[in-house]
């Protein structure tokens, strides 16, 4: 269908453009602030050295023994683990597990270099000694929790089949540890994730998903499942997703918040992709439950649920409509007024994507009262939120009918985005200029360009647009100049008059506009 293609093209233009550089910029700013803070603390420390009585390192024993003691302990562990005495093996394994479970600087690398992994993986198969199995599983879990290199060492020592076998262990704590370890391996990235799936991890996991499983166990299981849904390039294959989805949907109805959170994250990973992937999720009929979860109090649930919804409304118009039909629009206003700015931002992002839809969907935004909170966010949100809200306005003005655009301006959106023209972020400024242009196009259709010019000037927008002609960015400068030349220069007057004359039959629209300019 040509219309759908068109809208898709437009969406790709709006939805993904410019996000990455912005993220990078935010990170840079954050880093700068961190550095500055660090420097400040440093200066304070300097002062302290001058006045303090004696600033020895806290406990010299603590520092020096670290390396030495660790290498000694590891030697002992190696001796014990490689021996034949089951008691010693258990002792050695437990000592290793303790080292790896310390909070600070666990000696992952040292343990690997001591060649202990081979033995640990071997121990996983020792069904006669559950304690040994458990200690080995825990140790390997923690080694796999390190960097990719650490995880790779665990996998290359053949731990994957051993862990999958352990899932069936009658001892719940051992099975749980295996679930955890597999989660760490799956979380490393798409290749190990698919490796696990090839080894049949999914049926083995799902077999343990029983109603009488304890909550703690289910939490680990849910998290591991979510890791199996996670990561792109490539996505997990469809068959695997189809296998897991019913269970994930089931978990989404659990009462434990932590399980709900991880299950929601799983859904958010599954929806973060092309429209076919979103379709698979929608077909499960989970949308009403997701919308329900949006109303939860716990941020850990609301955040992934909102992310999932946001992903879904970024899909095709039909998919967006499915979300609307599930009642998303009545949940969003509350989230746009959420005390957490991260939630506000995500909600605004969702709105921006709904606003990129056909005018019927835009009409639903109006009907469900989303414009007022949107304008509030434009005015008072933090910058990231404002940026999303600006996108919403631009999408809205490019796809909305003339009446809808007029309504948006009436709600105060124009003034709000004009204020944001002072933003430092070039991309945002360009998006705003786009929106202004769209609004002018609507005014042109109504023959009300003069009045719009007046309004823009009254709220100080003209000054800001003029000022942007000095902008260092070429695109901004050109966009600003185009606006000025088209609508604000003297000879533009004639044009306005002619359009007014030709469009004189838009009587209702004009009167609408007249009302607006009263204030």
């Amino acid at each position: 269908m040509p219309t759908e293609n068109l809208s898709d093209k437009r969406m790709s233009k709006f939805k993904n453009k410019g996000k990455e550089p912005m993220k990078m910029r935010d990170r840079r700013i954050a880093e700068c602030v961190e550095l500055r803070k660090a420097h400040k603390v440093e200066s304070i420390m300097k002062k302290r050295n001058i006045s303090s009585v004696g600033d020895e390192p806290l406990s010299p024993a603590d520092n020096t023994d670290n390396k030495q003691v660790i290498s000694e302990t590891i030697q002992e562990i190696v001796a014990n683990v490689n021996g034949d005495c089951p008691e010693k093996q258990r002792q050695g394994c437990q000592a290793a597990r303790k080292l790896l479970s310390r909070e600070r600087n666990p000696p992952l690398k040292e343990i690997i270099e001591a060649g202990l992994l081979t033995r640990f993986v071997e121990f996983l198969g020792r069904n006669d000694d559950p304690t040994l199995q458990f200690e080995a599983a825990w140790s390997l879990t923690n080694v796999a929790s390190g960097t990719s290199w650490h995880t790779q060492q665990v996998v290359e020592h053949g731990a994957v089949p051993a862990f999958i076998a352990l899932l069936a262990s009658p001892m719940l704590n051992i099975s749980e540890q295996a679930v955890w370890a597999l989660g760490n391996i799956a979380g490393d990235g798409p290749s190990y994730r698919d490796g696990l799936i090839d080894c049949g991890v999914i049926p083995a996991l799902l077999a343990r998903l029983t109603p009488d499983a304890p909550v703690g166990y289910l939490r680990n299981l849910t998290w591991t499942l979510s890791n199996l849904c996670r990561n792109k390039n490539p996505f997990p294959r469809f068959s695997a997703v189809q296998q897991m989805l019913p269970s994930i949907i089931q978990l989404l109805h659990h009462s434990d918040k932590s399980i709900l959170s991880d299950a929601c994250w799983a859904v958010s990973y599954l929806t973060d992709g092309p429209n076919e992937r979103i379709d698979v999720v929608i077909k499960t009929g989970i949308l009403p439950r997701l919308v329900e979860l949006l109303g939860f109090e716990e941020l850990t649930v609301v955040t992934p649920a909102l992310r999932s919804i946001g992903n879904i409304v970024s899909g095709s118009d039909l998919q967006t409509q499915a979300a609307i039909d599930a009642g998303v629009l009545s949940a969003l206003p509350q989230l746009m007024r959420h005390p957490k700015s991260s939630v506000q931002k995500e909600a605004a992002w969702a709105v921006s994507n709904i606003a990129a839809g056909p005018c019927q969907q835009i009409q639903q935004l109006i009907t469900c009262g989303l414009l007022a909170p949107l304008v509030d966010l434009l005015r008072n949100g933090d910058f990231k939120t404002q940026r999303e809200a600006v996108w919403a306005v631009t999408n809205y003005t490019s796809g909305g009918t003339v009446d809808q655009v007029v309504h948006l301006v009436k709600c105060g959106a124009l003034e709000a985005i004009l204020n944001l023209l002072q933003a430092k972020d070039t991309k945002t400024v360009l998006v705003i200029l786009d929106a202004i242009n769209n609004i002018f196009l609507a005014a042109e259709k109504l023959g009300e360009v003069d009045k719009l010019c007046l309004l823009v000037e009254e709220v100080g927008g003209l000054d800001r647009i003029e000022f942007l002609q000095n902008h260092e960015n070429n695109a901004v400068y050109r966009a600003a100049q185009a606006l000025i030349e088209k609508y604000f220069s003297e000879d533009g007057d004639d044009q306005c008059l002619t359009t007014e004359a030709t469009d004189s039959n838009f009587v209702f629209g004009a009167s609408d506009l007249q009302k607006r300019f009263d204030f």
Binding site: R36, A38, H39, K40, V41, S43, I44, M45, K46, K47, R48, I50, S51, S52, K98, L100, S101, R102, E103, R104, P106, W138, T141, N142, A144, S145, G146, T151, Q177, W180, G183, N184, G187, D188, W223, S226, N227, R230, S261, D262, W265, E298, L299, T300, T303, K340, S342, V343
Partner: protein
């Protein structure tokens, strides 16, 4: 609710200066802040370049703890014997490493908005317990820190005058001059006149100054005693506590001095009678007393101070004399330090012409220089008007019972249309009025409780904009050695007990204040 955050606006100006300085690194690397900056975290507020250095000479207390403990970028010019009472470093700052780690932990747990991590390590039960224990200890430490900082920052007060600190700095570097000495006398006297420091602190600082004065006078004696016409001489005086009396008539000075007018209760008929009795007791002819001081009979003037003191003692005014300094320019001009303070303040807050604050500041600065005596005289004339206005306002407030008890404090609101109300839209003038009014009220009422209550005063700031200026002063009988005032985080202005509000928000502000103080 608050109309302007002057503090914020001011620092924004400074920020701009600092920011611009990054283009002129060669020119602006050092910043000197006089009577501002000590009680705000400058690094946080200004985000300066790392090599900018700030020298702060400020009387505002308490000094921000970060300013105290940062000595690479912040240099505080504060006298060693000023008791700062800064909390010890370890009570308010913690080691970097611990900070970071605890921050990480709590960050992951409290903020549920981040994506879960892809990998998780399983901790020991012991480690978990230890972590919980550490977090608990940290929370305790933080609670204690908050308490310590609250105690430290609870009250605002003033330290040694910046003028005196600068003078002593000059002295240490052997760059001190007699003019500078006089200016530091004025600085200290200003703190006393406007009630910024307790009397004991004033006496101590005066003693310090007296040593400097005698040193300077001694030095001059060596130089063949030639008194040229523009020579400047500073003398220590045990002079009368009567405002501007040498530039007024004795009678008017007595009427417009806070000390005497409150002692006599001059706003009552009884008080007027008492004044007549007092004059009669001194045996001074009315005609002479109402005469310009300059034209008074020399014989009367000769031992005037002793005569007045003797009679004042009989009328239970034991403190009619006070330690101060006078300056002589040539033979003709003699000024008490408080004369110059009143003149400079009047010029600074001149409302007669619509001049910019900058112009007024320049004029006030000019009047301190001995080549601009005409400005000084103009200032004295303005000060007289101001003092009269204060006296009249005090009388009318007392007589019409405008002072209300609001529970934890006294409250008085000057209505629009009160004569001279424009004068009191300025903080110094309003401070003076407040001080006189509270003293007068305490003298006039039988209610003993009023002695221990602070006074909050509101005056219209800008009638058109509907704004008011609100100011608070500590209780009259505040015995503590600090002139303390409850600081609330909202107050702004350099006199931090001053706030500017919208007229309609006054009620809200008072309610909040009542809640805060009771």
């Amino acid at each position: 609710m608050f109309v302007t955050d002057i503090r914020k606006e001011f620092y924004e100006v400074v920020v701009n200066q600092v920011r611009n300085s990054s283009f002129f690194v060669l020119f602006y690397q050092y910043f000197v802040l006089i009577n501002c900056g000590a009680n705000v975290d400058l690094l946080e507020t200004l985000q300066p370049e790392e090599d900018s250095v700030f020298f702060i000479c400020d009387t505002h207390r308490p000094v921000d703890v970060v300013n105290v403990y940062n000595d690479t970028q912040i240099k505080l010019l504060i006298k060693q014997d000023d008791d700062l009472g800064v909390p010890s470093y370890d009570d308010i700052f913690r080691d970097d490493e611990e900070d970071e780690e605890a921050g990480d932990d709590s960050g992951n747990e409290s903020d549920g908005s981040a994506e879960p991590s892809g990998k998780r390590r399983r901790y020991d039960e012991d480690a978990l317990e230890r972590r919980i224990e550490r977090q608990r200890a940290r929370r305790e430490w933080e609670a204690r820190r908050r308490e310590i900082l609250f105690d430290y920052e609870q009250y605002e007060f003033h330290g040694t005058s910046a003028a005196l600190v600068m003078f002593e700095l000059a002295w240490v570097m052997s760059k001190d001059t007699k003019d500078m000495l006089w200016w530091s006398v004025i600085g200290v006297t200003d703190q006393w006149v406007h009630d910024k420091i307790p009397h004991m602190k004033y006496v101590t600082d005066i003693a310090t100054l007296q040593r400097h004065v005698s040193r300077h006078n001694h030095r001059n004696e060596d130089e063949e005693n030639s008194l040229s016409i523009d020579c400047m001489r500073i003398t220590f005086e045990y002079d009368l506590r009567l405002v501007l009396y040498q530039h007024w008539s004795l009678y008017e000075s007595i009427c417009n001095s806070c000390y005497t007018s409150c002692s006599f209760k001059l706003w009552s008929i009884n008080g007027q009678k008492k004044l007549q009795e007092f004059l009669a007791d001194m045996g001074l002819p009315l005609k002479q007393v109402r005469q310009k001081f300059n034209s008074m009979d020399m014989t009367i003037k000769e031992n005037l101070r002793e005569v007045i003191e003797e009679s004042a003692n009989k009328f239970s005014m034991k403190d009619i004399r006070v330690q101060t300094f006078a300056v002589h320019f040539g033979f003709k001009n003699r000024f008490l330090a408080s004369d110059v303070v009143h003149a400079a303040a009047a010029l600074l807050e001149n409302v007669e012409k619509d001049e910019t604050p900058t112009d007024n500041f320049i004029k006030a600065l000019d009047c301190l220089s001995r080549s601009n005596l005409e400005w000084l005289h103009l200032g004295i004339a303005l000060a007289k008007k101001k003092l009269k206005a204060i006296q009249q306002t005090v009388a009318s407030c007392i007589c019409t019972n405008l002072i209300l008890s609001q529970g934890p404090f006294l409250y008085c609101h000057l209505l629009e249309g009160t004569p001279d109300v424009k004068l009191f839209s300025k903080p110094l003038a309003l401070t003076l009025l407040c001080k006189y009014l509270l003293k007068a009220f305490v003298c006039s009422t039988r209610n003993k409780r009023c002695k221990i209550l602070p006074l909050i005063m509101a005056a219209p700031l800008d009638v058109e904009k509907g704004t008011v200026i609100v100011l608070g002063i500590p209780p009259e009988s505040e015995t503590s050695d600090k002139k303390k005032w409850v600081s609330n985080s909202n107050s702004n202005h350099f006199y931090f007990q001053v706030s500017l509000l919208k007229m309609e928000d006054r009620g809200k502000f008072l309610d909040a204040l009542i809640a805060l103080l009771s």
